[in-house]
């Protein structure tokens, strides 16, 4: 019993918060101004609790297992949700159904925790669904906006379709090997053509969730239609969770067919980087722009995933942490501006520096980090990803990745130029940022600067393997 409480503490804590929110909603209810600090404190408590007593263990006949590294991955996701609750607080305070919003978001987070910890294809499937269905409901949160419901429709249809494909792959794997347990599969995998087909079905479902090209078609529409906090959640937390589980699936379960998945990962990552970058160049809406930029970033994550040793999984965890800070800072500024002025186009950001210097600096820092310019953490993240990807000696692949970093500089700096150098007759008026949003943006900014400087973070992640 003690072991159960200790090993599943993250999941139990999130479940407790979910029930508390349900009781608050069913009971008298609370005003948004009072409920939001409560939720933020609880999420912080979850984060602090997650840092202690992390040990290795398995429960329920190996259906659930955890290690210190998995606990760290969960904490990174928890940090993401906490930061979203901070940086998006200006939007959250205005929404009519705050309790439901967090209910859905925390259900999805619970699904992601179980997804990372799962040791069985059944748990894998169930938690993947738990992590996606609430997000589709969240995407529809602006109930009276046409675009919001259109985005949600695209999200639910594509996720239903992809889970169908995932299940077909799982059923074939069950048919070939007779087991669905992660620990037994590597011995029974025979590498036959049918097994590879089943693997491709399973991989393409994960690619749908990660929005890797060519499975990215829903991404930009959902990101643009959904409210900004939901977009931030989709692009940071759910991407991170699926990237973590992708490593488990590829490195442990499909270890016997490594030569097959290596080719697949290389081709898809090149396609993601190129198409994500080229489409990001021509975007006008800031959310669409960040959507395509996140597709390109996933391509870079795949460069790190491709090599399949300890260095690559360290580099991916490290990069996801940095990506979380940078992307949430960018989405945080976009939320603040959208909440106060309703403006979402890049051309509206012209002259932002004259009226809102703080927001412009945070945005510029975030974009520099996403582009991978040296003093910021993004540079170190990309450096480790490319180093890990290069350990197999395919230098042409690294060259393509490096060239893509140069293309991405162009469009990230386009936004910076609009904010700092372009003149505008009617810029966004000065915005009084709320205290918690400011706190969140400052945490993100500190994270962007310091995560790269402090080498012990990388060493710490490596020591957990």
């Amino acid at each position: 019993m003690n072991e159960l409480l200790l090993l599943m503490k993250n999941e139990l804590m999130v479940t407790a918060i979910i029930f508390l929110l349900l009781f608050i909603k069913v009971g008298k209810g609370m005003s948004n101004d009072r409920l939001l600090p409560v939720v933020q404190t609880l999420l912080l408590a979850n984060l602090i609790l997650g840092c202690f007593f992390n040990q290795e263990g398995a429960l329920f006949g190996n259906m659930y297992h955890t290690t210190p590294l998995i606990a760290l991955q969960k904490n990174i996701l928890g940090l993401g949700v906490y930061l979203i609750s901070l940086v998006c607080s200006d939007w959250l305070k205005k929404t009519e159904h705050l309790a439901e919003f967090f209910l859905l978001m925390l259900s999805a987070l619970l699904g992601m925790y179980l997804l990372i910890s799962g040791g069985n294809l059944l748990i894998f499937y169930l938690s993947l669904e738990l992590a996606t269905i609430p997000v589709a409901a969240m995407a529809n949160f602006d109930l009276d906006k046409k675009r919001s419901s259109e985005g949600a429709m695209k999200q639910i249809l594509s996720s239903a379709f992809s889970s169908g494909i995932l299940l077909f792959g799982i059923s074939l794997i069950y048919g070939i090997t007779g087991t669905i347990s992660f620990s037994e599969l590597p011995q029974l995998a025979d590498g036959s053509a049918l097994f590879i087909m089943a693997f491709i079905f399973l991989f393409s479902a994960l690619a749908f969730k990660l929005s890797i090209v060519p499975f990215h078609l829903w991404t930009a529409d959902v990101y643009e239609g959904a409210p900004v906090p939901v977009t931030a959640f989709l692009s940071v937390v759910s991407k991170g969770a699926v990237a973590f589980v992708l490593m488990t699936v590829l490195y442990k379960v499909f270890q016997p067919i490594e030569s097959t998945w290596y080719i697949l990962v290389v081709i898809l990552s090149v396609a993601s980087m190129l198409i994500g970058n080229l489409f990001a160049v021509r975007q006008q809406n800031i959310k669409r722009f960040l959507a395509f930029s996140s597709i390109a970033q996933v391509g870079f994550i795949l460069v790190g995933v491709s090599s399949g040793d300890i260095g690559s999984s360290t580099a991916v965890v490290y990069f996801v942490l940095i990506y979380l800070f940078s992307n949430l800072a960018a989405f945080g500024v976009a939320t603040v501006i959208a909440a106060y002025s309703g403006k979402e186009n890049i051309s509206d950001y012209k002259g932002l520096y004259q009226t809102n210097p703080f927001l412009s600096w945070v945005m510029a820092l975030a974009l520099f980090s996403l582009a991978g310019i040296p003093p910021t953490a993004g540079f170190f993240g990309k450096l480790f990803l490319l180093t890990a990807g290069g350990s197999k000696g395919s230098y042409v692949y690294l060259l393509i990745a490096a060239l893509n970093m140069i293309i991405s500089l162009y469009y990230y700096l386009r936004v910076v130029r609009a904010m700092f150098m372009d003149k505008n007759e009617t810029p966004v008026p000065p915005i009084q940022t709320g205290a918690s949003a400011k706190l969140g943006l400052i945490i993100c900014g500190i994270g962007i600067v310091l995560t790269g400087m402090m080498g012990w973070i990388y060493d710490y992640i490596q020591s957990l393997h």
């Binding site: 046409k146 419901s149 639910i156 077909f168 069950y174």
Partner: protein, 104 residues
Amino acid sequence: MMEPGLYHILFISAALFFIGIYGFFTRRNLITMLMSTELILNSVNLNFIAFNKYLWPGKMDGLFFTVFVIAIAAAEAAVGIAIIINLYRSHQSIDVASAEDLKY
């Protein structure tokens, strides 16, 4: 009369799977698209049951999986239909072609 074997059932389930995919890509009505995904899920159920009965009678994982798939499919359909109803309220139509504000 021939006794139906594993291959007959696998043939039916593969056919159902591809009918579902074909329907998903060609139909323009949202409810029909949702129905197509249900067809895909049901083909998977058939697969699991057939594998369990003919190949791995001792390992009940397939049977359990089917039960969970049915439950999740219901949940997915519930959320999907709720979203479609909301879409109908704002667009006055459940045709995919009507919902194309978001484009490049």
